[in-house]
């Protein structure tokens, strides 16, 4: 699932995080990034807040009469 950064990541030193630098950079740029359970657990332990980007559920097309 993709997530966007809310707060706290800019205070962490990327070198000390297990989450890849590329993901951290993109989160800080405001992009939606796919995060694993491990990434989320690491962020939670540091109080870094991210929010999931909800996927739009496509409504089934009505059959044309």
């Amino acid at each position: 699932m993709k997530y966007k950064h809310i707060k706290g990541l800019q205070l962490q030193k990327p070198a000390y995080l297990k989450t890849p630098n590329q993901k951290i950079r993109e989160l800080l740029e405001g992009k939606a990034v796919v995060l694993t359970e491990e990434n989320l657990a690491e962020f939670e332990s540091l109080g870094v807040q991210v929010e999931p980007i909800e996927k739009k559920i496509k409504k089934p097309k009505k059959e044309e009469k």
Partner: protein
């Protein structure tokens, strides 16, 4: 030829201990954590000494048996300066103010506060510590070879300066540890410390030793009672608690420590730009200074909510003791205000916050 040693062959380790072990001598175990000093200083043993020429000495030079020196009643100090690290700053501030509360379970939110609702209280240094208070440390100086290590027993911080140094870029902490254990069983020399993961050296306080930078997201100082944004070029706080040894046991070591007698003093200095907000206008810093009006200083790293590791809030009620100018600074005119922190009052009663330090990190004080 004699071997020459360098500073990199020495290290200082500190280990938090409960007040219940106040009289227990420091041990040579693996629990010491690196105090990340840049320059290592050695503990200074202050002994009780005297020596006066006695009568019946026609030579007028003091004799050797005129001299008196004892370790009983002495004390040991250790000066240090370290870059503030995320998982260390709270421990040091806790020790100098002997106040600490903690919430959360990772990240942890630490609060050290002197206010009308949470006034500082004098700790009982030989009582069991709760939330890290009383805050005591055994301190180890790791020497360059076996049997050359030193140990200080039950030290606490006597003074601490927290300097947000804009030129260095980091928050620097300097101060003095004080131990009332100067006997041969309290201040131990010729020891062989076990060392941590690396033999002969203490472990890191934290494996991700993030240094605290000198910047603030929010930085306001009251002008005429209104919080006003300031361009700060430097700010520092100095905490002094007048820690002193009390009593003398069979070894001549301290039986307790006096703290905050007569007072705990928090002073500091802030330098800010002479600008549209802070200037010599009719209702500005000079008038506030002449009026003797305390002002609230707020410094924050982060958004102020203290919920992510690394977020910091400092709130201080400051009473300026002078207003100095450097109108020739390379970066523009600067106003420097030395201050002392005071407890605000309302109708004669303490009301509000004198000093509050809040910090979020990833380390519990109780498990430190």
């Amino acid at each position: 030829m004699a071997k020459v040693y360098g500073k990199s062959q020495y290290a200082i380790g500190i280990k938090q201990k409960s007040g219940s072990a106040f009289a227990t001598a420091a041990q040579t175990d693996t629990a010491y954590q690196l105090l990340p000093v840049i320059n290592v200083s050695s503990p200074v043993l202050n002994l009780v000494e005297s020596g006066e020429i006695r009568s019946n000495n026609a030579g007028m030079i003091e004799t050797d048996f005129d001299q008196f020196r004892t370790r009983k009643g002495g004390f040991v100090t250790l000066d240090f300066e370290v870059p503030a690290e995320r998982e260390g700053i709270v421990r040091l501030l806790t020790s100098v103010l002997q106040d600490h509360s903690e919430s959360g379970a990772g990240p942890y939110v630490h609060t050290i506060e002197a206010s009308s609702s949470a006034a500082l209280s004098r700790p009982d240094f030989d009582a069991t510590s709760s939330a890290g208070v009383p805050s005591l440390f055994d301190i180890a100086l790791y020497g360059p070879a076996t049997a050359e290590d030193k140990l200080m027993t039950s030290a606490a911080l006597q003074s601490l300066t927290m300097n947000f140094d804009m030129s260095d870029g980091r928050c620097l902490l300097s101060g003095t540890f004080y131990s009332g254990f100067a006997s041969s069983t309290g201040f131990l020399v010729g020891q062989t410390l076990t060392g941590g993961t690396v033999a002969g050296t203490p472990n890191l306080m934290y494996t991700a030793p993030t240094q605290i930078e000198s910047y603030f997201d929010t930085k306001t100082l009251d002008i005429g009672g209104s919080a006003t944004n300031a361009v700060i070029t430097g700010v520092s706080f100095t905490f002094e608690n007048n820690l002193a040894r009390v009593g003398r046991d069979a070894n001549g070591d301290a039986e307790n420590y006096a703290f905050g007698i007569p007072s705990v003093n928090i002073t500091g200095e802030i330098s800010l730009m002479y600008d549209d907000n802070f200037n010599d206008g009719a209702s500005n810093v000079i008038q506030d200074f002449l009026d003797g009006t305390p002002a609230t200083l707020i410094l924050q790293q982060g958004d102020g909510t203290i919920s992510s590791a690394g977020e910091l809030n400092i709130t201080a009620e400051i009473y300026s003791t002078a207003v100095n100018y450097d109108l020739n600074a390379d970066t523009g005119a600067i106003i420097t205000i030395p201050f002392k922190v005071v407890q605000p009052t309302s109708s004669g009663a303490p009301s509000g916050t004198a000093f509050k330090f809040e910090y979020c990190d990833n380390k519990s004080n109780s498990a430190w």
